[in-house]
Amino acid sequence: MAEKLIIDYSSQGRKGYSLPSLDVPDINIEDNLESEYLRENLNFPEVSEVDVVRHYTALSELNYGVDSGIYPLGSCTMKYNPKRNEDIARIDHLSQIHPYQSDEDVQGSLRILHELKTDLAEISGMDEMTLQPASGAHGEFTGLLIIRKYFEDKGIEKSKVIVPDSAHGTNPASAVMAGFDIVEIDSNEHGMVDIEKLKEAVDDDVAALMLTNPNTLGIFEKDIKQIADIIHDVGGLLYYDGANLNAVMGYARPGDMDFDVLHLNLHKTFSTPHGGGGPGSGTVGVKEFLKPYLPRPLLVKNGDKYYWDYDRPKSIGKVHAFYGNYGVLIRAYSYIKTLGYKGLKKTTENAVLNANYMKIKLKEDFELPYEENSLHEFVLSGVKQKEKGANTLNIAKRLLDYGQYAPTIYFPLVVKEAMMIEPTETENVGTLNKFIDTLKTISKEIEETPELVKNAPHNTAVRKLDEAKAAREPDLKW
């Protein structure tokens, strides 16, 4: 099953490309360019087109995609990526446009982008959006810069951002990049923000609280209004990490929960493909009062015409060389237009239904650390299984043996031996049952033959990989 490196297919003189022959009079580049600027050697593969096609086809076969089966990574919203959106993103008149064409050349694309941001603002309850951030973390960074700029503009000094212990790692990392200090607060026994601890942590120096709601345990922060008040009372702002929007579309809007800034992960809620790790899009929404600080340029509609407004003196500036991940935005637009408002709501309903169904079934075998009602995802703990000899990592690896992907593990950090499960709405009860049965089987295996699980995976292209060695003796290129 192993596939060698593309460089190992190389054979001197082999060619995989074809170019028209030069049709302008040839010149000697050495006559124009000093020899020390002329590259001497490029040790790239020399392979044929067939070699390339076979090699990357073979590599693809070592991967698992959403079309391979359930992908229950909690917090990642691995839903089906509609093929028709791929077609649409490849329409020549949409994809073959250059970022420096004039606005008038690309009115069609600008219309799409404008409708998209209008829809996203409506869905999330915000007043204005920027489409520039290219990932969730990029959106967080952008949102926090907006907060920073806002306070700077108002002449208020604030240095702290509060982040719950259940937050995603990008939250504190983004806040630090945006120049803030982090205050971490513990969750309470219900897996929610501990109001008392929050009050203690809050002071005039707090610029923002970052929260996702439902939180990473899948639990809705029911005291959100109170939390908002606590922060707003000290002049701080509320930042919403939109990674979990799939849990509430059509049911609740972050804007209505008094969040001031948010980012949405279009590569989660809005079904754009993850591409093995990217590209994504982390569009940022703000309330009216923060609009001046959005990145430049802002897309504006004037009558029937759309244009990019660069004249935004209070803007934080640019976070992307162009306008963001346009190709991803097109797919998200296509998705929203397909579903419409009913489809969006139905999406959320079934995402939550699926998660709750799985939770009910799986808590028979696995510890459920928080009994609270949860929405689109839930977190189990593998502590019982660990005692019997196989931990959460082992369980995850054993799932791979059964041809199914594993949940997010060891996150959120507040749960020991965490398994964070998010089925999404595009799974049906059949695939859920199959996954549930597999987890139950593994749990039984741990009782009967723990070694089998501990040494998993057994049937994958490679067995368990030595990560320690990888870090100790970095081998990062051929």
Binding site: Y37, F44, G317, G340
Partner: protein, 446 residues
């Protein structure tokens, strides 16, 4: 339509097993006060047929490179993209996969990243490359932050011949870290090296130059290397168009510590500016590697001793280190990196060189001809790669719009960046002599 798989009957049954009556009941944990009690103001859904009709109609109002000849560049280049690339990345195993958290079921992605890192390293001459950053602009910014962390300095000497938007992004990123950006002016179409020299000191974090620069010119890298070498702590960041490195000496040989830039030209569709990919590579120094942003794949062995690949050196990253991470990078541009990997493999040793050379030669052919016209001059005729700076007394907007009437996108109006004037014309191997001659013919009679 929607993508919900459960039937009404199944939903009912599931609700029953959960122990609630209606679907709304599972949302009971959302307090009434924040519940949305109306329908979203979003349009009705559409079937596929309606969707395609709707979007095609909108798309047709665009002017596209599909039927216009483009001389636009400025960081987004219209190179030939081999057909096989889209076929390969359209395999669901690549494009629908997540970040390779479970390495054993993600060896495809991981090996691609390893190959990507290998070829980016080779191309730039560097020793360590990451798995991609968000785009050329943010990669430049991350490189600067990285340099500042390594040197523990805050002052950044940034060439004005660096792409204006990259400079702007860098400033956005640098501001919270109190970086002190000094922009080094132009000397004709290249960085003013005297000014650079004057600003150099031991408290400089990095010199940032673009190679070839925004105007297409090739900086005097030998000289820059010499200047830099006088200050031990100063790092040299080179922002390079990877296609040009098929022809040009890799930045490493001019003393670059970090090479970064936009990878779009390596096989990625023009796509109105994204998704593209930022690449970043550095020297093999633990201090550098520890400060690198973004994911890195590495080779290792499995339980049976067979070779395999994992994400490695993760103690730099946000999911492990949270607020102490080198960057907040999580989702990157993996699929674009896959595209670029396949592109580099397909073009290979000879092809990348040929692309660079043909672009160079065609651009020079065109520049000479334009310079011979009455009304247009090429400011950097003696020194450019595949993009050049045209000045004219004619109003640039009029020039470009008259070309557009002839189905030509004639170049970038440099005044859009509010610094300089003129037209930036880019030529790739895709442009034919016929197209170049047509452009000249039109410019001759203006």
């Amino acid at each position: 339509m929607d993508y919900v798989s459960n039937t009404e009957k199944e939903r009912k049954q599931m609700l029953k097993e959960i122990g609630v009556e209606a679907i709304e009941d599972i949302f009971n944990s959302i307090p009434e006060e924040v519940k949305l009690n109306r329908d979203l103001n979003v349009s009705e859904g559409m079937s596929e047929l309606e969707l395609k009709r709707h979007i095609n109609k909108i798309a047709d109002t665009n002017i596209s490179l599909d039927n216009y000849t483009s001389f636009l560049g400025g960081g987004a280049y219209d190179h030939y993209v081999p057909s096989i690339i889209d076929h390969l990345i359209s395999r669901q195993e690549f494009y629908t996969a997540y970040t390779p958290y479970q390495a054993e079921l993600s060896q495809g992605t991981l090996q691609v990243v390893y190959e990507y890192q290998s070829m980016i390293s080779e191309l730039t001459g560097m020793e360590v490359a990451n798995a991609s950053l968000l785009d050329g602009g943010s990669a430049t910014a991350e490189a600067i932050l990285m340099a500042s962390r390594i040197s523990r300095n805050k002052k950044v000497l940034m060439s004005s011949a660096l792409h204006p938007s990259y400079r702007e992004v860098a400033k956005t990123y640098g501001e919270p870290k109190d970086l002190d950006f000094v922009e080094i002016g132009l000397d004709n179409s290249v960085t003013n090296l005297e000014e650079l020299e004057d600003n150099l000191s031991d408290d400089v974090a990095a010199i940032v130059v673009q190679y070839p620069n925004f105007y297409g010119s090739i900086e005097n890298m030998k000289k820059i290397q010499k200047l830099k070498q006088q200050y031990k702590k100063v790092l040299l960041i080179v922002v390079a168009n990877p296609i040009s490195l098929g022809l040009l000496t890799p930045p490493k040989e001019f003393g670059a510590d970090i090479v970064t830039g936009e990878g779009q030209s390596l096989g990625n569709t023009i796509n109105y500016g994204g998704p593209y990919l930022g690449y970043l590579a550095c020297i093999n120094d633990r201090k550098f590697i520890r400060q690198m942003p973004g994911r890195i794949a590495g080779a290792t062995v499995d339980a049976d001793g067979n070779r395999g690949y994992v994400l490695t050196l993760q103690t730099r990253e946000q999911h492990i280190r949270r607020e102490k991470a080198t960057s907040n990078m999580c989702t990157n541009e993996a699929l674009n990196a896959t595209i670029s990997t396949i592109y580099m493999a397909t073009m290979g040793k000879k092809g990348l060189k040929e692309v660079a050379e043909q672009s160079y030669k065609k651009a020079h052919y065109l520049a000479e001809k334009i310079d011979e016209t009455d009304k247009f001059d090429v400011l950097n005729l003696d020194n450019f790669f595949h993009e050049f700076w045209v000045s004219t007394k004619l109003p640039v907007k009029k020039v470009l719009s008259s070309l557009k009437q002839n189905n030509i996108l004639g170049g970038i109006d440099i005044s859009r960046f509010k610094e300089e004037e003129g037209i930036l014309i880019s030529v790739t191997e895709k442009r034919t002599k016929e197209e170049l001659d047509e452009l000249v013919k039109l410019m001759e009679v203006m």
